[in-house]
Amino acid sequence: MLHERLLPDSPDRTASSKPRTAEKFGRTSRRDFLRASAAAGGLLLTFGFRSLAKAAPTDSAEIPHGMITAYVRISPENVVTIMAKNPEIGQGVKTMLPMLVAEELDVDWSQVRTQQADLNPVLYGNQHAGGSTSTPQNWDPLRKAGAAARQMLIAAAAKRWNVPENECGTASGQVLHKASGRSLIYGAVAADAATLPVPDLNKAKLKDPADYKIIGHSIPGVDSPLVVKGEPMFGIDTVVPGTLYAVFQKCPVFGGKVVSANLDAIKSMPGVRHAFVVEGGGNLAGLMPGVAIVADRWWLADKARQKLEVKWDEGATSQQSSKGFAQQATAFSGQAPQTSLRNDGDAAAALSGAAHVVEAAYSYPFIAHAPLEPQNCTARFQDGKVEVWAPTQNPEPGRALIAKTLGVDQKDIVVHMTRVGGGFGRRLMVDYMAEAAWIAKVAGVPVKLLWTRADDMQHDFYRPGGWHFLKGGLDADGKVVAWQQHFVSFGRDGKFAPSADLSADTYPARRIANLSYNTSLMPLGVPTGPLRAPGDNALAFVFQSFIDELAHKAGKDPLQFQIDLLGKDEVLPGKGLGFNTARARGVLEKVREVSGWGQRKLPPRTGLGVAHYYSHAGYFAEVVEATVTANGTIKINKVWAAGDIGSHVINPTAAFNMAQGAILDGFAEALYQQITIENGRVVQSNFDSFPLMRMKQVPPIEMHFVTTNYSPTGLGEPPLPPAIPALCNAIFAATGKRIRSLPIDTSTLKA
């Protein structure tokens, strides 16, 4: 039989590949897990579960944000297993979140094993990976969860010794009674502790940060030993017995419908078991129309696809194009804006009275996420129940979409989170999960759906393009007195398309007396969505480049100009906790110091550029040194970055790695990337036409963290936005040529 080799106990299996089935990815249900851990005499702590259970009647209920539980299992041998609640997409949360529990549990990291949790919002609260939220949402709750567990272990030991709890302490996974010199490993009292009531998490006593042994210390990624050996752990590696493989052809024009397809010819192709039309719906973020081919092997399904002929009804958006959008934006620029977002003072009057006026038009294209692991999902539909194994950043909406699409109750859907081969926001969207579940239901067998790279690039939820028409006014002293901005974006009826928005609070609002932000929107038939630092990845380029233009026009040092514009220390209204000008100044001052800003003489056609941005609660300032050769080639010589993400950098090794990667990601966007729409469809299909950063282009990056007295926040996103304007501002310093459109056209930079 064809699939015998995939069975765990098949004699065909090679010696080097260990048996693995769905169970490897954590099919154990919560009940089984509870039973198993109880049987093992272990301690299972379901922190907060009892109180949360009242708030959320069933697992399928809508769970409010911020709900948190975590559980810890301790074996008699004192091995501590800590559940990792959120999806691991390379941002390091499978290591970092358990570190928070382990610290307050007071165990040594060498005792700790981490295990990926399945989707269960009642137990774990919010389980998504996005918006750099894992740290701020879990910093307090998971430390308290660890502290509560420690208290329960102390209580169990104190009871056994018949001594007061307050005479007991802990260290390295042991309860200690100093007065008598006695000690017990946690594993010896774990079963007793499990019978005790969970203390009030809000009263949990937390460590003095000076005593931290884990937080703030570098812990290598927990899965890395498996990664470097090529062990299967990603979604694409999922093996479920009896699985067939699927490809799914959607209309190249978004939302197009299937009129007819040569299904009989496809069904006769080698290895093909099923070929069928998926009617789909009209929701671009849901199950869209297309043709599914299910075969014995993915290669055979994909090969059959080469012969697939589909007649499409391309629908209403087949005439849309990037060129048309740009023409419409230019037309809008000559008209009064549709909507005023903000209007402080009188920008028009201040411009007419200004000593100097700077006028500029900025634009940036659509771009794709291009995570290296193409979208995929393995699904099984059996007896009205669904089980999926998904590389997802957003398991809960994934489950909800499957439920809605298949007409299945959410309680009948199990979502296993696999390791994810890159997220960048793409896998916050869960279209591919619904596709896999639907195809598995129709085919009647477990199905692994795998997209090609072209599928991924041509059916993304793109960072939308945008156009900004700006005027800035300076007084005779070089102070900014006016700012007028017309943002042409996408949307309808005054409502922005996803990730195509501009907040009225965006800095430098409240720092320029006469300032107006205005918008005009055009309709869009292209799906858009969050890409790493959504909004900010484009807006930082515009705002921070234009501020740099004003600095140069004023004849001021650009970095000092930025500090001056921040004004007095205060918190301005804005996203999250608001924009703290003191923290922004802090990172600018730090990067000035470490980069030697203004201290070094630079060679010809070499320049330093600076930019800063507040994104996802983090503050980053970056300085780029770039050389532009006579033929326009850009060489980034070095980058200095300063970041403020609060009081602690929880796992420094991962933090430095991610900050460097985010900065390089920004450079790739600036230098290479654009998605072009023609005839309603995406032109680019692979990494030749949509390049990613490669080794040769990578400069040294010196990253410095500034710690401040604020609760720690996330890091996946905030280092990225300033990288783009810092590079563009460096290019201006090197050449006198201002970059106002991305990706950078090097032909404009020739000497």
């Binding site: 080799r5 390379g90 990664v227 090529g230 290296l372 890159g422 985010a662 490669r694 990578v698």
Partner: protein, 162 residues
Amino acid sequence: MQFTLQVNGRQHTVDVDDDTPLLWVLRDEIDLKGAKFGCGVGLCGACTVHLDGAPVRSCSLPIASVGKAAVTTIEGIGATPIGARLQKAWLEVDVVQCGYCQGGQIMSAAALLTLNPAPSDGDIDAAMNGNICRCATYLRIREAIKQAAKTDFGSADTRKRT
């Protein structure tokens, strides 16, 4: 058609079309999932394996072209001293973010160090430029290769600590 392959020192016989890429034979016939599908056309390097020690993009190499060459994958490279040193360095330097590309990265690095035990930055750039890391862990990949090669070119520590 039947093909007999030598993979990581073991013999496997598979029955597939002769145009089936080696990647899909490894992943779906022999069940070695370490080589990854990223682009399908040899642009990203996630599928890199060795044929007789030379790096190839298995996504674009038909099984019929493999012949009698010994295939080594990321699952088998640790059996070589260079492969083991690279895997160790990868962990010590803590290279991995998402990890999807890293098997291919290590395979390219192993081929590099086999030919050139003390590569310069330029050598590393040239040998590794075909391997994309979407998380952009390149600075650490470079550092890990140098560490495995036990060479020190006096470059700045890319993991500068505060």
